[in-house]
């Protein structure tokens, strides 16, 4: 029995593109040839790994997985809230300065190019509504009430996801990295529940059939080989996570110190309609896992998760921020290759059982 395996999303950009992005705005037309080459090379190398499902490596997402859709909006300011990483650096989000809210870029446009180049199914990652909801400042914006912002945000998110589904994305993965961060900021769980509520509002706009192709990804963050919330216990996150009305969950597991405990939590909360893709390679670990290591991690997960509900993935994107060069492209693809091969080994073993 084949065990599905999927990437999370980002692949480090080629150095030439990274250098250009350091001096040019992400939407500068001069970058187009570099973007095109980066996508083409990424897909080529991705397919070379044998991964049955690929992404475009988020080569065109500027500046990162979180703000790509709103980058360049005139009604934003760069002084949004900060995300502190364990390594000591801080990433700063955009702040909304006035209404109305709408996306500047939609991920389905990235999907278009990738599908033209790819030979295998392509999945597409999008940012969650809960992540973007943090753009609205604490004080009410004159003439643009918060309720209107939430409505606009839900509409824009629905439009993006529906476009990806209609264009044939293998899966649409909603990045929900702020979930674990929310528990860190608010141990009472109120923040997390409000995020889940907001995301479920968005998901309620899709049919059950659509939701089978929609998933949610959670991880402790990954930037420059560092996390923002790895210290938060999954036990505080996962019960709420499984309340999200989606068919697929992409849960970082390889980097966890107590994987068994996490798997037990998953086992206790997984629903019959769910498929859980557990992370079997860790992007923030500079060492490339061997297929055998991956195989063993899959077999370990299979003890807690029914095989027909089990899948594998990377723990996180390899370069969620475009200027993150802590991991090389070769390492990323090597890790992916290990995931694919290790999952296949596990499937072979489990299927023969």
């Amino acid at each position: 029995m084949a065990i599905p395996t999927e990437p999370i999303g980002s692949i480090p950009r080629p150095p030439a593109l990274v250098e250009a992005l350091a001096v040019l705005d992400g939407s500068d037309p001069a970058l187009e040839p570099l973007y095109d080459e980066a996508v083409r090379d990424t897909i080529e190398q991705f397919e070379a790994t044998g991964s049955p499902v690929i992404t475009d490596g988020e080569q065109r997402k500027y500046h990162n997985f979180w703000t790509y859709s709103v980058q360049g909006l005139p009604n934003t300011a760069p002084d949004g809230f900060k995300i502190p990483f364990a390594a000591g650096h801080v990433r700063r989000m955009l702040r909304l300065t006035g209404g109305p809210f709408c996306y500047q870029h939609r991920a389905d446009t990235y999907l278009d190019q990738a599908q033209r180049l790819a030979q295998v199914p392509v999945k597409q990652a999008v940012i969650s509504p809960s992540a973007l909801s943090l753009m609205y400042p604490p004080e009410e914006l004159p003439g643009y009430p918060r309720e209107q912002f939430i409505d606009d945000l839900l509409r824009e998110h629905e439009t993006e996801v529906r476009a990806c589904l209609q264009k044939g994305a293998h899966k649409v993965q909603i990045d929900f990295t702020e979930g674990r961060l929310a528990v860190k900021i608010d141990p009472s769980g109120q923040l997390l529940n409000s995020f889940v509520d907001l995301n479920n509002l968005a998901l309620s706009r899709f049919s059950a059939e659509d939701r089978k192709r929609i998933g949610v990804h959670t991880c402790p963050g990954g930037d420059r080989d560092s996390t923002h919330s790895a210290d938060i216990d999954y036990a505080e996150l996962l019960p709420s996570l499984f309340a999200l009305n989606v068919g697929n969950f992409y849960i970082a597991l390889a980097g966890e110190t107590d994987r068994t405990r996490v798997l037990e939590i998953i086992r206790d909360h997984i629903g019959p309609e769910h498929r859980v893709f557990v992370g079997v390679v860790s992007p923030i670990d500079p060492r490339v896992e061997t297929p055998e290591e991956v195989r063993d991690r899959v077999i370990e997960a299979a003890r807690y998760i029914p095989l027909d509900q089990l899948g594998t993935c990377d723990d996180c994107g390899f370069s969620p921020f475009c200027d993150d060069i802590s991991t090389s492209r070769d390492t990323a693809f090597a890790k992916i290759r290990a995931r694919v091969q290790g999952t296949a080994l596990a499937a072979e073993l489990l299927g023969g059982r």
Binding site: F81, K82, P84, S133, L134, Y136, P137, P138, R146, E147, F149, I150, D151, L154, A182, I185, D186, Q190, L191, N193, S194, F195, D197, L198, L201, S204, A208, R211, P272, E273
Partner: protein, 786 residues
Amino acid sequence: MASDDQEDQQLRAVTLQNAQSVLLARRRVEEDLRKQSEWLRITLASIGDAVISTDIEGRVTFMNKVAEDLTGWPMPEALGRALPEVFHIINEQTRRRVQDPAQHALKDGSIVGLANHTILMSRDGTERPIDDSAAPIRDVGGAVSGAVLVFRDVMEQRRVELEHRQAEARYRSLVDATAQIVWTTDPHGQVVEDCPSWRAFTGQTYEQWKGWGWTNAVHPDDREHTAQVWGRSVASKSICQLVYRLRRHDGEYRWSVVRVVPVMDVQGDIREWVGMITDITERKQAGDALEESEAKFKLLFECSPLPKWALEVKTLRFVDVNEAAIQLYGYTREEFLQLTVLDVRTAEVGEALTALLDRSARHLPGVDACQHRKKGGELIDVEVHLSEITLSQERVWLASIIDVTARKMTEAALEDTARRRNEFLAMLAHELRNPLAPIRNAGHVLRLAPDNREVVQSTAEMVERQIGHLVRLVDDLLDVTRIDRGKIELRQERIELAPVVTHVVAAAQALIQCMEHDVTVTLPPQPVYLYADPIRLAQIIGNLLNNACKFTDKGGTISVTVGVEGGDSCRPEAVVRIRDNGVGIPADQLRRIFEMFTQVDTSLERSRDGLGIGLALAKNLVEMHGGTLEAHSEGVGLGSEFVLRLPIPVDAPMPLPPVPSSTVSPPISRTILVVDDNRDSAMSLATLLSVKGHQTHTAFNGNQAVEAVGTLNPDVVLLDIGMPTMNGYEACRRIREAPGGKNMLLIAVTGWGQEDDRDKSSEAGFDFHLVKPVDLDALIRMLDSR
């Protein structure tokens, strides 16, 4: 870290505030869901079918009102109960309980329809036939979570189906009983069932007629068209109606009308076609005859030279008109069809139209003598002959119009002419008596005072004057007839105008003096030459002058002016103006003044002499000369002016050589035989000639004349023409043939003065032709010519 804490607090604040908004949004979504749920509940409650839903265990979770009514279970009581408890059904035939379809749906996860003949037993034991079906309810994961059962009471449907079957049975009975051919086909138009009436009519066997075999009984010329029309009807599922010739069993083709209608089943699909054939041969033949008759009528109608209309009986609106009517009235056919007869007929003339139509409707002669108005407004007199006929199965008035306008005008003119002729005859009698009276008185005077020379002299002058008047009357009458017959010939010659005028004025002196008029004559300084008949010219001017004298009260002023004017064509004209200050002419009579037998205001001027022909005669004579004659007057009592214009010829003939003045020679005594059956006439003429110194003899008929010539051998014979026993012509010929007759001077003296008469005289051998009463001077000139 303090900074990080602030960040976290801010983030928490943002998130919690967002959560409030999310909560509101979620409530809106929940409200929408609630509304959808309510809408679903209302929908289910509103539909005509009964609906029951169950959970996965088959327990009732919902019932709509219809389901409550049919099962007899109120929803509150039914909720949570096992479906079979609420929905109790049995087989109609076996009366045994059957499993409801919801159980199948729950078990198999498929949509299930129930077998027929199912009876629903309601809670109170009422039995109802039902149709039902069930479907599984699936959750978001696709798993079966319940079932929905839909069913309906089909009792009414069963009743309709029963009625339908009964109606069909009745229809079958009618088919069997009808005399017409009634047949059926399957939904595709194929004959699949026997039809005894078809077989009886056509003689075809069922084997021959089934399928499309029936077309073989249709006339070959109609077959293709019939098949096409029938095929189209089947394809379009619409009624088929056509006429064709159908071969009867005896081989004769009969005209038949066929009507085929689709018969629908309960579901609205075509179950079969039913056709009905009716033999219309006799009807069609009658129709053809009628059609032919109407075609002939139409041809006659259209080609008639008489204008004809067809009018709608009730509205009198034109429904058709022929070309002659269009030509007469000036309306186009389309314009006519927008009008009624009342738009054409004037109301002023003729009897009431309603009475006329009423009489015509009772087939009594209906002739409408009235006036119609043409499109341009012109009125015409018409006779409209009306009759009511049937045309194209509609009753219409047929009107034939005779335009009698010209006839009416002719009749009016004839009436006017007759009236004027009668007036003329009365006037003639009056005019003749006027001179006769003084002549008779003269006879008495002469008898009583024969020796009173002065009395005799004045009486003779009076008699001459009256006779001259009589002669003028007769001459005018004769000229009128000549002009009417075109028999007047002008003896035109180059003459000078002034002497003619002078002579005419001198000739009229007696009348002028009698009327005591002051007449002035103005002549041009230079002679004006004309190419004219001097006698006729004198007659014209004399008539005009005579008229002026008569119609001017005693002591009036009359001017006669002769001149030359430029003329219309810039050629010089001789102009004679005779102006008086007499009674004048009313403006409305100026135009008619030159008409024959016309006198101005006869009632007032009865006392004036004249026959009313003088001016007409003058105008005709003037026009024969190429001239014009006009009358002018300022009105009654303001006098008149008559203007005579005659062309002056540019290249007038050379003047005749001057007539040598005749030398006066002593009178010669001749032997003259006067012949007239009117003894007084013969005797008076003979006496007159005797007075002039001649030897005269008389004879009173032709024989006597011939005889007297033989004995007397006269120099001259004056012969009347119209005599008994031998007329003047014959006598003349005999005299000429007698010895010495050739050299005798033979003069015809007759009342006949026409050219023909003169020609006949000449042919008979007369030398001259004199018209009675004899102009003595003329006679003497003739005697002197020998």
